[in-house]
Amino acid sequence: MEVPILKQGDCLIATVQAALTDADLLHFRTALIQQVVRCRSRGVIVDLTSLDVMDSFASRTLREIAQMIRLRGAETVIVGIQPEVAFAMVQLGLKLEDVTTALDLEEGLAHLGKGSASSA
């Protein structure tokens, strides 16, 4: 399952739309970093609104993505983690430390300085 990556100005918006296998996640990591380089992006939003399970592998991969993008001089915001998923993550001990999170796409864009309602 491919994760679509949209370009909006100097930002990228990646929306996870279905369950991802480990291979899908690794493919997504590579594709997203390549896009960040190609588009000279300043900000990246990863929208997890549709993600129903976050396990240790997904969490680690997302942290790696954010770290790699930071090394490129860009910022990643993870948005849309569902309350049930957040609850399970905390129980499991997954912290997503050092990764910026926001409520939804609109707040994520606002965090990246892209305005909120007007540009969404």
């Binding site: 296998t21 399970v53 396990d55 240790s56 049930e84 399970a88 499991l92």
Partner: protein, 139 residues
């Protein structure tokens, strides 16, 4: 309880690839929802299955997840059994300690899963395999 009786009592999912991890947790979630578990508890069950299946794949390469519907006098539950015939765990106490891992992963697997469920038991024999049994009861 009428709905519960028409459910499959036991589901087996072979774990041989990362796609099987997704299949196992989706079946677990569907079963939990069918039994009337809340969406939050179904997510805990699916997450526990994902983590147990991942351990099978990482350490034993292949194995099986078995989901069984349970009933005690007052409420239904789900039993998850993760079984493999892999290398086994030499020191279970150590494996249940937060932050411990031998595979270079996060090392959250077993203690994390224990926190997601109501009952947790692990039996392992070196060179013969590991069986983790976890139960989650409906609130």
């Amino acid at each position: 309880m009428k709905d519960v009786q028409v459910l499959e009592k036991e589901i087996h999912v072979g774990i041989n690839s990362d796609q099987d991890i997704v299949a196992a947790r989706q079946k677990g979630r569907a079963l939990a929802i069918a039994l009337g578990f809340s969406s939050g508890d179904a997510t805990l069950i699916a997450t526990a299955i994902s983590e147990l299946a991942r351990n099978i794949l990482t350490y034993a390469k292949c194995g099986e997840i078995q989901l069984t519907v349970l009933h005690n006098s007052t409420r239904p539950g789900i039993q998850l059994i993760a079984h493999d015939t892999g290398p086994g765990i030499p020191d279970i106490t150590l494996a249940l300690r937060d932050g411990f891992s031998t595979s270079g992963s996060l090392g959250l697997g077993l203690p994390g899963v224990k926190r997601l469920v109501d009952e947790f038991e692990i039996v392992s024999e070196v060179n013969h395999g590991t069986t983790v049994t976890a139960k989650k009861w409906k609130l």
